[in-house]
């Protein structure tokens, strides 16, 4: 299934309205716009758990389909989408009651400087680095991991706070410790980061 370039410029709200008015292509466009991001987020979030990301992914979109008629344009669609996924993920955790996530003690983590050769703001496609960081992210606590991954999805801290149902300061704190811990994990790794 391929997307027309012209559909990329159509807003999410417009696509939703078109879908509700019977446009068969509208939902497909909207779905293809966000499916990889959502799947990537869930895959990384649930990598070290017993929860199948496919289930959460599918349930999230089914919920989106169900709730679209009542959707209000009060923020970005992506934030709403990730919020639904988060809520389903939390529901699943409560059902399973099996926390397999690692959590670090934030108070005792020393503050180490980041490696100087890591360049921010670039989309780094170096496979080794990517794998290192992906592994390191799995060692974060659930909350820190989630904040970090949602930030990777370009959600604002305010949106992340709404998703996690906590204050902005809490989100900022979690992000701060997530970065701190990642630096430690990466610095402690024996592989050379290029």
């Amino acid at each position: 299934m391929s997307m027309n370039k012209s559909t990329e410029t159509v807003s999410d709200t417009h696509l939703i309205k078109a879908y509700l008015n019977g446009d068969g292509q509208a939902f497909e466009t909207l779905y293809f716009r966000y499916r990889q991001q959502l799947y990537g987020y869930l895959s990384n979030l649930l990598r070290s758990s017993s929860i199948d990301p496919d289930d959460i992914f599918e349930e999230t979109w089914l919920k989106v389909i169900d709730k679209l008629p009542a959707y209000r344009d009060e923020g970005r669609f992506s934030a709403w989408l990730f919020r639904l996924a988060h809520n389903l993920f939390i529901d699943q955790i409560r059902k399973n009651r099996n926390r397999t996530f690692l959590s670090t003690d934030q108070e005792d983590v020393p503050d180490l400087p980041a490696p100087e050769h890591l360049q921010p703001a670039d989309v780094i496609e170096n496979r080794e680095l990517g794998e290192e960081i992906t592994r390191a992210v799995q060692r974060l606590s659930t909350e820190q991991k989630e904040v970090f991954l949602l930030r990777q999805q370009e959600l604002s801290f305010k949106e992340i706070a709404e998703i996690q149902k906590c204050s902005l300061n809490t989100v900022l704190s979690r992000m701060h410790y997530a970065i701190k811990n990642l630096r430690i994990f990466l610095a402690g790794s024996r592989k050379q980061i290029k």
Partner: protein
Amino acid sequence: MKKYLKLDALTKAEVPRELDLRILAAGKLRQGALLQRRRKLRFVFSGAAAAAAFAVALGLCLMPQNQDFRDVSREEYAKLAALSDWTSVEQENYNLSGEIFWGSTSVTELADNRTSPGV
């Protein structure tokens, strides 16, 4: 905006095709149901409006031209009907009165004839 490290491995992942197909099918199904519901609602509302208009028109057509007759209650109607509903006694009285009247008239006429000259 503050710059931060961004990795494709953390932001995107290829979705299994079966998931794509199931979700898109669910989207189409729901869309069909929504449109059908909308059509039903439109039918119900337009039907209700037509029925209301018909009821008003029917009421206007059935309105009587003579309001007085319709205003007479059953009780009053019964009273009016009773006036023409004579019993046999009343009928007899009427007949006798009539005979007396016509009888006296005849007597008067006879009396007038006797007294008239040339008879």
